[in-house]
């Protein structure tokens, strides 16, 4: 028989159920919980609120699409004439290459100029309103993003990107939890000329929230690839990863099969990753079907969810009067904002309020 074996836990349960404070927290949790809106709600919102503006915007989109088509045709004609000139007039190869590059560049710039105002307008008209539809108190800045310093602070990715951009920054308070997230595209480029290599460090949604427990160290949860591929040997390899800190082996086998955890303190990592939080993270991963990266540093939780497509952008050559893309924008936003609920961040029963 070991000390503190069962009674401590009993006390915890009795205390939790008996406390008036906890009853109060219940209302708080309910108040803080994002009331999941159904697809019917979204459809109604789309039909009544968005539709009139979408109709106006659709006209603008068609105009721009037409202009871009004209630009493309003009460039093609120019290129065609250029190649004829090359064939019949024996001009030099370099001049042709320069001419082609120039054509493409001018075309690109012109297209960018055409669409720039439209994209901003679209975002303020559509994306911003969907953000407010999900939660009224959130603010949206289409051109801002999570700064690079914060991205590095999370310690999720060890490579420092030298090409970093992002947009669609959302911030605000969901219940008791301060959140912010944005789309990011962080790349690392090495070498120059022919040896230039570029690889993606991270592309997707990067999310930050205020965590509900106090802690001092750092705990990092990454998708588990080594253990999945190499089993026990993989685990051994993970424990030798000197860049990451101590390997934390947790007792939830399902969680362990999906994730690998590194941390500065074995006990603190388990304090953060309670049995319930492990189950919630596993659920979240399974529900979204995405890779999930998490880190707990400086009283904050950072989450990175990779995407391969560009998020919250208008489609220029497809009609706006379609519910499908609206649903996708909503679902992408909901995935990020929903992290608060998924990880139960609004439960404030610990000393951090």
């Amino acid at each position: 028989m070991w000390p503190w074996q069962s009674t401590v836990f009993d006390w915890f349960k009795i205390a939790a159920s008996a406390f008036g404070l906890l009853a109060m927290t219940t209302t708080k949790i309910n108040a803080g919980r994002i009331l999941m809106k159904t697809l019917d709600d979204l459809k109604r919102f789309y039909d009544t609120t968005l539709m009139p503006d979408l109709l106006a915007l659709e006209g603008q989109r068609r105009g721009i699409a037409r202009k871009i088509m004209i630009v493309i045709i003009v460039i093609n004609v120019a290129l065609g004439l250029g190649s004829l000139a090359f064939v019949f007039m024996e001009s030099n190869m370099l001049a042709v290459v320069i001419a082609v590059a120039l054509c493409l560049m001018i075309g690109g710039v012109v297209c960018k100029l055409f669409t720039r105002g439209y994209v901003t307008y679209f975002k303020s008209l559509v994306i911003e309103r969907i953000v407010h539809f999900v939660d009224d108190s959130l603010s949206y800045e289409p051109r801002s993003c999570i700064p690079k310093s914060t991205f590095m602070l999370s310690k999720i990715f060890t490579t420092k990107p030298n090409r970093y951009k992002g947009d669609d920054f959302v911030s605000g308070k969901v219940g008791a939890t301060q959140i912010q997230f944005s789309e990011l595209n962080a790349e690392y480029e090495s070498g120059s000329g022919k040896n230039r290599h570029r690889y993606t460090v991270f592309r997707g949604i990067f999310f930050i929230a205020d965590f509900n427990k106090h802690f001092n160290g750092q705990t990092i949860v990454l998708p588990d690839t080594a253990e999945k591929l190499f089993g026990r040997l993989g685990r051994k390899l993970q424990s030798l990863n000197v860049f990451r800190g101590e390997l934390i082996r947790l007792e939830d086998p399902e969680f362990e099969s999906h994730f690998v955890v590194y941390g500065s303190d074995q006990i603190e990592a388990r304090y953060i990753l309670s049995t319930s939080l492990m189950a919630r993270i596993t659920d979240f991963k399974e529900k979204t079907g995405k890779k999930i990266y998490l880190s707990f540093i400086g009283s904050m939780v950072f989450a990175a969810v990779p995407y391969t497509r560009n998020l919250f952008e208008p489609r220029l050559f497809k009609t706006l009067l379609d519910f499908e893309p609206i649903r996708r924008y909503y679902e992408d936003l909901q995935l990020a904002i929903g992290i608060v609920d998924e990880l139960n961040l609004n439960t404030r029963i610990w000393s951090k309020e």
């Binding site: 000390p3 006390w11 939790a16 074995q266 309670s274 000393s351």
Partner: protein, 185 residues
């Protein structure tokens, strides 16, 4: 000759590695065990505050408050065997549970700000104790694996190391603790 020497050096090297890793694992177990002790002491330190906060309100639970105060005094005196310590911890836990249930009868106390803060701190320490117990079990698992698995078991038996027991976690404790569940929603 050189080959034989090389083999001897290699074997010695492996032995040293195994020896050190065993010591490391044993110390890890000891270290986490000590942390549990620290956390329990932290909980003991909160008891006087708790008693002070509730005694103005609780008229019918004087016996309970006295019992917990006495138990705490004995626990912090530090002249106890392990078994006595276990018994005392259990007594304290039970008494704490009793107080927390009794709080239900005193709405003024429940609404008291400093008491609420105290309760949050208590919840935090309970979860830290639970985390430390899980860390202890993980450390024991690593240690036991080393003691029982080949080839580390040879060195371990030469060092007189034996497997250690885990904190037993009952079936109902294995389930994820869901605050919502505890709150009855």
């Amino acid at each position: 000759m050189y080959v034989a020497l090389g083999i001897v050096v290699a074997v010695l090297f492996v032995i040293v590695l195994i020896y050190n890793s065993l010591i490391g694992k044993k110390n890890q177990v000891k270290n986490v065990f000590a942390t549990i002790d620290v956390l329990l002491k932290k909980r003991y330190d909160l008891i006087p505050q708790l008693v002070a906060a509730v005694k103005g309100y609780m008229r019918h639970e004087r016996g309970l408050l006295e019992e917990i105060t006495k138990a705490r005094a004995r626990a912090v005196s530090g002249r106890l065997s392990d078994d006595e310590q276990v018994l005392l911890d259990n007594t304290v836990s039970k008494a704490l549970g009793g107080i927390m249930v009794a709080v239900e009868n005193y709405p003024d106390l429940k609404a008291d700000k400093s008491f609420m803060h105290l309760q949050r701190t208590m919840t935090e320490i309970e979860e830290q104790i639970s985390a430390a117990r899980r860390a202890y079990n993980a450390a024991v698992e690593a240690f036991n694996n080393a003691v029982e698995m080949f080839p580390t078991n040879i060195i371990a038996s030469m060092m007189g190391y034996k497997t250690r027991s885990f904190f037993e976690i009952r079936e109902d404790e294995r389930r994820p603790v869901n605050a919502g569940g505890l709150l009855g929603n």
